[in-house]
C-alpha cells in the first residue's frame, strides 16, 4: 500500500484495529463503524487519537455528532463502481464542516482521483504497484468544473459572474 496525502506519499501512522483488539496506548487508531457505535464513549474517554472506517452501507449520519473527536474518516470503496463514498465525503465536508482527514481506500482508480478530491477526499490508499507520479498527473486532467463542491474551487458559473 502507498498512502498519498496532500499529493505526497507518506507512512501510514495509523493502527487500523479489528473489532476485538484493544487499543494500544498512545497510538492513533481507527475502528470500524460497528465498533464505534458500541464503544465510542469509552474510546473518546481513553485519550487516544481516533478515526472511524466507513463503508457505503453504514449510516454515516450517526457519526456526525462525534466529528470533533475524529481526526480521520476512512471511506471504503469495495468496487470502483460503488459511488456512495462520494456523497458521504461531501456531506461530511460541506454539511458538517468536517476538517479532519477523509481517506479513500479499496478499489479506487487513477481516473477517479480528481472527482474524489472535489468531493473532499484528501488522502488515498493506493494499491502497492501504483505509479504515484502518474496518479498525480491524473489530478491535472480537468481544470474546470461546473459545480461547486467540497474542494471550494470556484465553479465555472461563479467565474463567469465574478
Amino acid at each position: 500500500m502507498t498512502l498519498l496525502k496532500g499529493g505526497t506519499p507518506i507512512e501510514d501512522s495509523w493502527v487500523h484495529l479489528d473489532d476485538e483488539t484493544a487499543a494500544p496506548a498512545g497510538a492513533a487508531i481507527t475502528v470500524s463503524f460497528a465498533r464505534w457505535q458500541a464503544e465510542s464513549e469509552a474510546l473518546k474517554a481513553s485519550g487516544v487519537t481516533l478515526g472511524v472506517r466507513l463503508t457505503g452501507d453504514d449510516a454515516a449520519e450517526e457519526i456526525t455528532d462525534d466529528l470533533n473527536a475524529l481526526q480521520l474518516v476512512v471511506i471504503a470503496f469495495p468496487a470502483f463502481t460503488d459511488g456512495r463514498g462520494y456523497s458521504i465525503a461531501r456531506i461530511l465536508r460541506e454539511r458538517y464542516g468536517y476538517e479532519g482527514e477523509v481517506r479513500a481506500t479499496g478499489n479506487i482508480l487513477r481516473d477517479q482521483a480528481s472527482l474524489m478530491t472535489r468531493c473532499g477526499f484528501d488522502a488515498f490508499d493506493l494499491a502497492a504497484h501504483t505509479d504515484v507520479a502518474d496518479w498525480l498527473e491524473g489530478l491535472k486532467d480537468i481544470t474546470l468544473e461546473y459545480q461547486p463542491a467540497a474542494d471550494r474551487r470556484r465553479s465555472v458559473p461563479q467565474i463567469r459572474h465574478a
Binding site: 470502483f80 459511488g83 456512495r84 462520494y86 454539511r95 472527482l115 472535489r118 461546473y146 461547486p148 459572474h161
Partner: protein, 551 residues
C-alpha cells in the same frame, strides 16, 4: 441555440485530451480492458457485437447546420457513411475503431459537441421536446433548463458512479413529446395560480424489465431551486439505490420500494440542506443561458404566402406531406417540418452522410440553420417559412427524405437489436422493415391514422415497446426469435404501460399478427377514433379473439 464560451470549450478540450491519454494507455497495455471499460463508457464508447459503437450527445436534440455537417463528415471518415439517430436524441456510429475515438471526439469538440456521459452509470444527455421554442402551445423554451442541467451534470464529481444510468427529460408543453413520465426524472414546466412558471417534478418512471410511470413528488418547484432539488434527488438515489442487482438499481425501484411519500420526505430532508446554497445558479447565469434561446427575428408573411395556399390546393402530394409532416408553429407564417427517417423498408433512424449534408444545407437555406433530432428518431426543421415549404418539399423528395408518415404505423421506433447489440435476444430492425413494407400503402396508413409501433430486441426495452400503442418485444424461445405483442401503451401526457396480449409469435407470423391487430381496430373504430382511443374503449378482448381464437 447555446454556444460555448471559453470555459465550455476548455473543459471539452481537456476532456478530449484526457480520453486520448486513456486510449493510449489502453493501446500500450498500461490499462487492462477491465480498467479501461468504465473510462470509455464515460465517453460513450461501447464494445458491440462487431465493432466499437460511439454514441454522441445531441444536447436536448438541437443541432446547427455546422454540427450536422460534422456528424456527416465523421460518418464518412470514421464509419461506413451513415449514422443512427436514437430515441434519446443522440446519434450512434456503429462501426468505429478504438484508435480513432480520440480524433472523433476532437472533431466533435471543434463544433461544440461531445460524447461525455452518453453511457455509464451517470446522468445521461438531457432530452426535450423536439419542437421546443417553436411549439404553439408551449409555456416557454424548455431548452434553457436543459442547458442548465447539461452543464450541472457534466463531470459532476458526486454522481459519476451511480447505481445505474440516469435519464432526465424536460417539457414545457401540455402535449408531452419528451416522454417525461418514463424518465428517471421528468420535468414539466407549469404555471401556478399566481401565473409564475416553475417545475412539476416526476421521479421513478422508466421502461426496461420493470416498466413504471413516474410519480409527481413536487407540484411546483420555483425555478431558482432547480439544481439544489435535482442534487437532493440524486444524492438520495446515490446513497440508497440498490447496488446488489443491476435489474433493481434504477431509481424507479427505490421510489417503488420506499413509496412515493417516503421518498419525497427523504428528498425534502436533503433539500433543506442544499436549498439556496452550493449548486444553485447565480440569477445572472440563468439569464445568460436564457439569452441564447431568445426567439429569432421572424418575418411577416410576404406576398408569396398566397402561392403556398395555392399549392396546397392544387398539389395533392404536397398537401398530404404537409398534413402528415408539418406542424403548427407559434409564429404566424412559419411551420415546423418533420423529416422522416423511416422510408419504406428502411432502418428506423438511420441517415447517410449525404442525407445529413443535405438536411444541413436545407436548414441553412430555410430553417435558420437549426435542426432537431426527435425521440421518434426523425429530424425536424423548426423554423421554416410556409412560403418556402413547397420548394423545400421538392428538394426533400430528391433526397428521398419526403416520406409523409410522421406518427403513422410505419414511423416505427426500433432498437438496434441482434444486428448490433450484444444484449439482444432477437432482431428488431428486420421486423421493422417488414412491417414498414407490409403497410407501404400510404393511403392505408393515413386511413389508419396515428399509430405508434415500437420494437425492442430484448427486455431492456431501448425500443420503448412498453409505451407503443402496439409494442413488440423480441424473446428467445428454444433459440428461435419470437415476438411478444403488447397493446395500449403510450408515452404522452397520459402515459401508460402496454399489456401483453397473449403468447408470442414466430418471426414468420409477427407481421400477420400486427395486421390482425390493425384490422381489428378498423372493424371496431367509431368515427375518427385513433387506435389508442379504440383500444382504451373496447379493451384487449376483441384483439385477443382475433389473434388467437381463429387458430
Amino acid at each position: 441555440m447555446y454556444s460555448y464560451d471559453q470555459y465550455d470549450t476548455q473543459l471539452v478540450n481537456e476532456r478530449v485530451a484526457q480520453f486520448r491519454d486513456q486510449v493510449q494507455r489502453r493501446l500500450d497495455g498500461r490499462l487492462s480492458e477491465e480498467e479501461f471499460r468504465p473510462l470509455r463508457l464515460l465517453n460513450g464508447l461501447y464494445l458491440q457485437l462487431h465493432a466499437y459503437m460511439l454514441r454522441v450527445a445531441v444536447p436536448y436534440g438541437t443541432l446547427s447546420s455546422a454540427q450536422l455537417r460534422m456528424l456527416a463528415q465523421i460518418a464518412r471518415r470514421y464509419d461506413r457513411g451513415y449514422g443512427h439517430f436514437t430515441t434519446r436524441q443522440n446519434i450512434q456510429y456503429n462501426w468505429t475503431k478504438l484508435e480513432d475515438a480520440p480524433d472523433i471526439l476532437a472533431d466533435l469538440a471543434s463544433v461544440e459537441m461531445h460524447a461525455i456521459q452518453t453511457s455509464g452509470n451517470t446522468i445521461r444527455n438531457t432530452t426535450s421536446d423536439p419542437y421546443a421554442g417553436v411549439a404553439a402551445e408551449e409555456l416557454e423554451d424548455p431548452r434553457v433548463y436543459c442547458e442548465i442541467i447539461r452543464q450541472w451534470s457534466t463531470l459532476h464529481p458526486e454522481f459519476t458512479f451511480l447505481p445505474r444510468k440516469f435519464k432526465i427529460a424536460v417539457t414545457a408543453s401540455p402535449n408531452d413529446r419528451a416522454a417525461v413520465k418514463v424518465h428517471d426524472i421528468g420535468i414539466a414546466i407549469r404555471k401556478n395560480a399566481e401565473g409564475e412558471t416553475g417545475f412539476e417534478i416526476l421521479v421513478g418512471g422508466g421502461l426496461g424489465r420493470t416498466p413504471m410511470v413516474g410519480k409527481t413528488i413536487r407540484d411546483f418547484l420555483p425555478k431558482e431551486h432547480l439544481l439544489s432539488y435535482l442534487e437532493a434527488i440524486l444524492r438520495v438515489y446515490n446513497l440508497n439505490g440498490r447496488r446488489d442487482n443491476k435489474y433493481k438499481a434504477r431509481i424507479k425501484i427505490l421510489v417503488h420500494d420506499l413509496g412515493t411519500d417516503a421518498f419525497r420526505e427523504q428528498v425534502d430532508a436533503e433539500w433543506e440542506n442544499l436549498r439556496g446554497k452550493g449548486p444553485e445558479l447565480p440569477p445572472a447565469e440563468m439569464e445568460r443561458i436564457r439569452a441564447f434561446f431568445a426567439p429569432p427575428e421572424y418575418e411577416k408573411p410576404g406576398s408569396n404566402h398566397q402561392d403556398y395556399i395555392e399549392k396546397l390546393r392544387t398539389n395533392a402530394g404536397f398537401a398530404e406531406w404537409v398534413r402528415a409532416n408539418v406542424v403548427e408553429h407559434k409564429q404566424n407564417g412559419y411551420a415546423i417540418v418533420n423529416i422522416s427517417l423511416k422510408p419504406e423498408g428502411g432502418i428506423p433512424g438511420d441517415a447517410t452522410a449525404v442525407q445529413m449534408d443535405s438536411v444541413a444545407d436545407l436548414a441553412e437555406k430555410y430553417s435558420m440553420a437549426e435542426i432537431r433530432v426527435t425521440h421518434q428518431q426523425n429530424l425536424v426543421l423548426p423554423n421554416v417559412r410556409q412560403a418556402d415549404l413547397f420548394v423545400m418539399w421538392e428538394e426533400l423528395r430528391n433526397q428521398g427524405l419526403a416520406t409523409n408518415n410522421i406518427g403513422l404505423i410505419s414511423d416505427i421506433i426500433a432498437c438496434p437489436g441482434l444486428d448490433y447489440c450484444g444484449l439482444a435476444t432477437a432482431r428488431s430492425i428486420p421486423v421493422a422493415q417488414r412491417i414498414s413494407t407490409r403497410f407501404a400503402d400510404l393511403k392505408r396508413q393515413h386511413d389508419l391514422g396515428e399509430l405508434q409501433l415500437k420494437i425492442s430486441g430484448c427486455i431492456n426495452a431501448c425500443g420503448h415497446h412498453h409505451v407503443g400503442h402496439i409494442g413488440i418485444l423480441g424473446v428467445d424461445r428454444n433459440n428461435e426469435e419470437y415476438y411478444q405483442i403488447t397493446l395500449g401503451g403510450r408515452a404522452d401526457e397520459n402515459a401508460a404501460i402496454g399489456k401483453i396480449i397473449g403468447r408470442a409469435f414466430s418471426s414468420d407470423d409477427v407481421v400477420d399478427a400486427v395486421e390482425t391487430v390493425v384490422n381489428t381496430y378498423v372493424d371496431q373504430r367509431q368515427d375518427d377514433e385513433r387506435f389508442i382511443d379504440t383500444y382504451e374503449r373496447i379493451g384487449p378482448k376483441p384483439f385477443k379473439e382475433a389473434l388467437y381464437d381463429a387458430a
